[in-house]
């Protein structure tokens, strides 16, 4: 049973089938939009999970990279005349370079110190975005030009459903494969014990940095995708609460589980949409659900459920 679940191919196939089938059950275009939001959040979360779940490092400022990706595709075409697709790549490179530069000193820190350092980084990026209003439109945000690829204008919630779904598939595929490479094994080794990993010859600092850079690029691409999709961007996407949301998705779904990140995103993105029925009570219920979920499924939804299923299957 477990061997079957662990098959990368089966996981990818199931995800592809889910993405392909969902449109047949969607009653309106609104659902395409919500699903696209889930795919985008899942993409960012899968990247963060490589850092948190595999390499065992916390980032409380990950939305900074999401914001850089988003603002790259907004600022590039509007202010600098860069084609949107190129701005997306530049954003990803910028995020990777920033992660590389600050990652070196930051990742020497552990536990709560790493948490506050990444948090500080996130707050700083968000502050720059909010303050430099000449470039970013300040707290009000700014419009984003449509993405055009080979003369094809990518727009509409239906189109973006497939684009983001495709991105998620590629992101999932890479993350699943990474898990099986020497790099992935090194990540897991330093998650379990940095000292033990060092003893067997893993260059701890280098692999932590690699995980941080990969996670930053995932977030940046997800940010760009969301900006294109919405045609608009505001500083909230780079803010502390969005960082928290990303961490919550990863932990809620299950640390170290790629599928978990997708399930976590599905839960955390659709819940507020569903809860808008209760409008007034939205935050109250969201907070309550997070607390209850973390108390009763502290390993995350997917690992907790698969353990439960395994136990059922055995007895």
């Amino acid at each position: 049973m477990r061997a079957l679940v662990n098959q990368r191919f089966v996981t990818l196939l199931i995800l592809a089938v889910v993405i392909a089938i969902l449109p047949f059950v969607f009653p309106s275009s609104y659902y395409f939009r919500v699903a696209s939001l889930v795919w985008v959040s899942a993409l960012a979360a899968i990247g963060l999970n490589i850092l948190m779940g595999q390499a065992g490092q916390v980032s409380l400022g990950h939305a900074a990279f999401f914001g850089i990706g988003a603002y790259a595709v907004a600022i590039g075409p509007t202010h600098l005349g860069i084609p949107p697709w190129a701005a997306l790549l530049i954003g990803a490179v910028l995020s990777g370079v920033l992660a590389y530069l600050v990652g070196r000193p930051i990742l020497r820190l552990k536990g709560h110190y790493l948490a506050i350092a990444t948090l500080g980084l996130g707050v700083l990026v968000a502050l720059v975005i909010t303050t430099e209003s000449r470039w970013t439109g300040g707290p009000d945000g700014m419009p984003v030009e449509r993405l055009t690829l080979f003369g094809w204008r990518v727009s509409g919630s239906y189109t973006w459903y497939w684009v983001t779904g495709g991105l998620l598939l590629v992101g999932t595929w890479i993350a699943l494969n990474l898990d099986e490479t020497p790099t992935g094994r090194a990540f897991r080794a330093l998650h379990d014990s940095e000292i033990a990993a060092q003893v067997v010859g893993v260059d701890v600092a280098r692999f932590k940095l690699q995980a941080f850079v990969i996670a930053a690029i995932y977030a940046s691409l997800a940010g760009s995708a969301l900006a294109f999709m919405n045609g608009f961007i505001n500083p909230d996407q780079a803010g502390f609460l969005h960082s928290v949301e990303l961490v919550t998705i990863v932990v809620l779904g299950g640390l170290g589980s790629v599928v978990g990140s997708i399930v976590g995103a599905a839960v955390l993105v659709t819940l507020p949409q569903a809860l808008t029925v209760f409008q007034e009570y939205e935050h109250l219920l969201l907070g309550l659900i997070i607390i209850v979920a973390m108390i009763f499924m502290r390993n995350g939804i997917v690992p907790s459920l698969s353990n439960l299923l395994l136990r059922r299957a055995r007895s």
Binding site: H112, Y113, A115, V123, V128, V244, T248, L288, I290
Partner: protein, 290 residues
């Protein structure tokens, strides 16, 4: 000189509030190992409950007591129903639980109260006092004095009472504390109640200056956490010094460099300090053994 003094006093005033929030973080962290991101919500509760109680005709001192009592009750509930049941969970899980609690409390405050900004009248009038050419709001003295009293009371409690020593013992080594007969669960509840009270006092003192609303807690929690880390997590003296330093940095940074990046200085300095001294300014140099 007058300008310098002006920045100094306003920096110390804001810093005192950060110091109280950081003390709350430290107290809970020491007793239970939890970083409580709902700490800012205690400050919010202190301000909001006082505002609404005094608007309902309760005299200010009594309204303040009601607010502190309400915050303590919520702190105890938080410990009993969110932290206790999750005993043994990982640090990240616990952080997310407290963030969930902070979202929940904000949601409750938005419903029970409202989403407007609220002000309390200054305790002793609004006429500025002249201090060597700097115009100082009387409320600043209330904040500084109040903080001093809280810090002193906490010091006496920890160093000179049996219960206080039990708190210190729990902070030093939870297992050892339990072995000598200290009920660590009660100590943890005490820490949550105490932190809530300290947070609420900060909220009551500062609301006449900075206003309050249901969502002021997040930024305060971030700054308080930053102050606690700047001083070295788990060190009460470090928390107070870290808070005051943070306030001064902000005030002087805003005054002499750029007011739009006021909030950035704090986090920039944290990053620099952590790069140079990864344990914070007053943190213990822990030697890890295999």
């Amino acid at each position: 000189m007058a300008e310098f003094l002006q920045f100094l006093i306003s920096g110390l005033t804001v810093g005192a509030v950060y110091a109280l929030v950081a003390l709350g973080f430290t107290l809970i962290y020491n007793a239970s190992g939890v970083v409580n991101f709902a700490q800012g919500e205690f400050v919010m509760l202190g301000g909001m409950v006082t505002v609404f109680a005094s608007a309902a005709g309760v005299p200010l001192p009594l309204a303040a007591l009601v607010a502190i009592a309400a915050a303590v009750a919520i702190g105890l509930l938080l410990h009993r129903f969110a932290i206790e049941p999750a005993r043994g969970a990982s640090a990240v899980t616990l952080i997310i639980i407290t963030i969930g609690a902070s979202i929940l409390l904000r949601g409750v405050a938005a419903i029970v109260f409202d989403k407007q900004f609220h002000k309390l009248p200054a305790f002793t009038g609004d006429t500025p006092v002249d201090v060597l050419g700097a115009a100082v709001q009387p409320q600043s003295f209330w904040v500084l004095g109040g903080t001093a009293v809280v810090v002193l009371a906490l010091y006496v409690f920890l160093e000179h009472t049996l219960v206080g020593k039990a708190v210190l013992a729990t902070a030093a080594n939870r297992l050892a504390a339990r072995l000598v007969g200290i009920n660590t669960t009660t100590i943890m509840a005490l820490a949550f109640g105490g932190s809530a009270a300290i947070g609420a006092i900060a909220g009551i003192l500062v609301t006449p200056i900075t206003l309050t609303s249901y969502d002021v807690g997040t930024l305060l929690a971030l700054k308080g956490f930053a102050a606690a880390m700047l001083g070295g997590m788990g060190n009460p003296v470090g928390a107070v010094v870290g808070g005051l330093l943070l306030g001064l940095l902000e005030a002087f940074g805003a005054g002499y460099l750029s007011s739009t990046y006021k909030d950035a200085f704090a986090f920039l300095v944290i990053l620099i300090v952590l790069f140079a001294a990864p344990q914070g300014l007053f943190g213990r140099r822990v030697v890890e053994r295999v």
